[in-house]
Amino acid sequence: MTVELERTDTIWLDESAVVPEVDEVVEPVVEPPVIDDPDPPASDPDVPFRPSALGPSDRLEFVLSAVSALAFAWALCLVMDWSAPLTFAIWAIIWFVTGTYVTARARTSKVVAMDRLVTTLIWLSGAFAVGVLGWMIVFVLIEGIGGLVDDLPTGEWVARLGAVALMVAVAVVVRWRLGRREAAGTGTTLTRLLPRVVGAACAVGAMLVILPVINTEFFTSDIAEVGPLDEGGGIYHALIGTLEQITIATVISVPIAILTAIYLHEIKGRLAVPVRFIVDAMSGLPSIVAGLIVFTVWVNTGRGFSGASAGVALAIIMIPIVTRTAEEILRTIDNGLRESALALGAPQWRSVVQVVLPTARAGLITASILGVARAIGETAPVLLTAFGSAVTNYNPFSAPQSDLPLFIWGLLREPNEAQIARAWSAAVVLLLLVLVLVITARVIGERGARKRTGR
């Protein structure tokens, strides 16, 4: 039985606590006791006890602290003649944190004030992480988007982006409104189908708006014939290289990783302890060492740089990632499924192949995609194995080959704006690829998890 208390800022147990608003102390809300719950949600992180710690006076204090912090930092920067935005932000944050502590300390107790201080700091670190991620993505997009699209007047850009934003907004709103009805249990066939239809229509519409203005030359030419100061040139050779190397890496690593996960969790053989130990060690292997080992064993023994050796190096990086994720997925599968298969007389391999793996399919796909997302951006190992090249090399088994990270890496070290601009454009392509992969993995994984638990 859980007792939930609605907390206000005034009921911390502390002898020095002032309790001015006695009538605000809220009575405990007693939930109806759950009888015969075999698995109490004690450790379920989804339903924690969450006191709502902020009353109106707390909010007022936060707002006042923030306002005074901004005023203070502004005045300080004006007086001291500082102009860097970072300086302004740092002083504002210091003043804000101090302000929240001092106001809470003046009105309540040390315990409450300390709690307030920590709450502020933790929210700030959350905001910092989100802010850094956002800043980086926006920075990369701004630097690199110019090379990916045709030169158009600003007005046309505003119109096209506005159209895309409108379509995304329509799709999101339709999905959200109808999803609420679905969740409330009043859904019909229409409410189920409409969001998908609208979503697909909006996606097609957005593509129709964006695709014609994409700079196709950037995707369909290489930089073999392009001088450093020339216009044009593109990432075709790098895309081919990335595609081939990632395919090789996936073909090698995914079967090994999934079979290893099966060995670790389904068979639990004699090697399980050392293998888990080694997989842990591999997951911490610096990526450059993965490249160095393939270089030592394969490239440097007279076989030369090639895309395939880069694929092997990337496979070494992917194996531990996929193995660990896949093992986590296998762990979530209900033991009852395995036991039912065995009880029906199936040998273990059939229970794994026909029951466990189909149940885990979505999760295993997620694991593989996450591995690919990690491998696709690795630069150090491919530098030592594929080396990079300016010409399009379709054969991954001989001669140096480029790929997206190597393309960026090569151009970044050139002292010339046009080359660095190309590197940024390729970085946008790489970043978008990673984003799409991670989001796809998450969507598939969540659908799979819902399916597994829904059964």
Binding site: T2, L5, W12, P41, P45, P48, F49, R50, A84, L86, V111, D115, V118, T119, I122, W123, S125, G126, A129, W135, M136, F139, V140, E143, L259, T260, Y263, I267, G269, P274, I278, V279, D280, A281, G284, L285, P286, I288, V289, L292, I293, T296, V297, I316, I319, P320, L342, Q348, W349, V352, L370, G377, A380, P405, W409, L412, L430, V434, L437, V438
Partner: protein, 326 residues
């Protein structure tokens, strides 16, 4: 199976019968295949260790193992390879990254677990996963083009106001403050944050909720609950996650290469231009290396491999033990 003789049936009642499995031919094949896959992992790490040692041997024996680990010269023509200074610089970068990254990472983990609204949590964990997947090359570019400028301002401020602390001192008054250990550490800090956050968040999520509610029910504030229940419970897991982040920071290559100037001497003045790491050495010198220098680079890689292996295994052991305890 015959019924086991039960002298005291009440005691044996709850003990399940041992399952006797007869392995079919298919089962044996299946077990063989997966054991083979598992053995491949062992083989890869074994090959790595053996081949790196073998190929590193000529360079190490040409320099002498002591000089290799303590020297700070890199003269392939004189057959002198010393990574001592680079080891110091590698560790300095990683420590700077920890000092910057750990508070943010732990704050973020607590934020996701204890403070954020429940609806935001999937997006936040997704964001952490995303941050972990962003290529280090892009972090490096961003650090080089967007972060260097404002951070050198911070470095200037530190050098002029906090020079009582030895590592913030400058050897000369007008030395350049870009391309330093400090900036590299900052970029690496952002890269190791998702590692520390996701592992420590997992550990902290295993705190028995009953104990948390108990702490709150006794009148503790939320910070009191975190300080007295969550942190003590997750202590070893948090330490392990920090060590994992340290291992990641030691091996980081591309982002570091982009934002520093490689020097071989140990540079303890972290704000000054010039820093280095073993992986940066390999990535920088690899292109034009020939003959014995290749062996020297492999030897440096071996040193990095052993160092990260030790840090990672200690970290994993700590994390796994804390998970078992939960």
């Amino acid at each position: 199976m015959p019924d086991a003789p039960a002298p005291d049936g009440a005691v044996l009642e709850d003990v399940p019968r041992p399952i006797v499995q007869s392995r079919t031919f298919g089962d044996r094949v299946f077990r063989g295949i997966s054991a083979g896959a598992a053995a491949t992992c062992l083989l890869i790490m074994f090959t790595t260790g053996v081949f790196l040692t073998w190929k590193a041997f000529p360079a190490i024996s040409a320099t002498g193992p002591i000089d290799f680990l303590t020297g700070d010269t890199w003269q392939p023509d004189d057959e002198a390879f010393g990574v001592g200074g680079l080891l110091v610089n590698t560790i300095m970068i990683a420590l700077t990254a920890l000092v910057v990254g750990v508070p943010v990472a732990l704050g973020l983990a607590l934020f996701i677990n204890e403070y954020s609204p429940a609806k935001m949590r999937p997006f936040l964990t997704g964001g952490v996963d995303l941050l972990a997947a962003i290529p280090s090359l892009i972090f490096g570019m961003w650090g080089l083009f967007a972060l260097s400028e404002p951070l050198s301002g911070v470095a200037e401020w530190l050098a002029s106001h906090l020079n009582a602390i030895p590592i913030f001192r400058l050897t000369e008054p007008d030395v350049a403050l870009t391309r330093s250990t400090f900036i590299a550490g900052f970029v690496v800090a952002i890269m190791i944050t998702p590692v520390i956050t996701s592992v420590s968040r997992d550990v902290m999520a295993q705190v028995p909720r009953v104990q948390c509610e108990g702490a709150l029910g006794l009148g503790g504030s939320r910070w009191g609950m975190i300080r007295d229940v969550v942190l003590p419970f997750g202590k070893s897991g948090i330490v392990g996650s920090i060590l994992l982040g340290f291992g990641r920071a030691l091996g980081e290559t591309i982002a570091v290469v982009l934002v520093i100037d490689l020097v071989f001497q140990p540079n303890l003045n972290i704000l000054e231009q010039g820093s280095g790491s073993i992986s940066a050495l390999i990535a920088t010198k690899f292109g034009e290396a020939q003959g014995l220098e290749i062996n020297g680079l492999i030897a440096a890689g071996l040193a990095l491999f052993i160092m990260t292996l030790i840090v990672n295994l200690i970290a994993r052991a700590i994390v796994n033990r804390s998970k078992l305890a939960g």
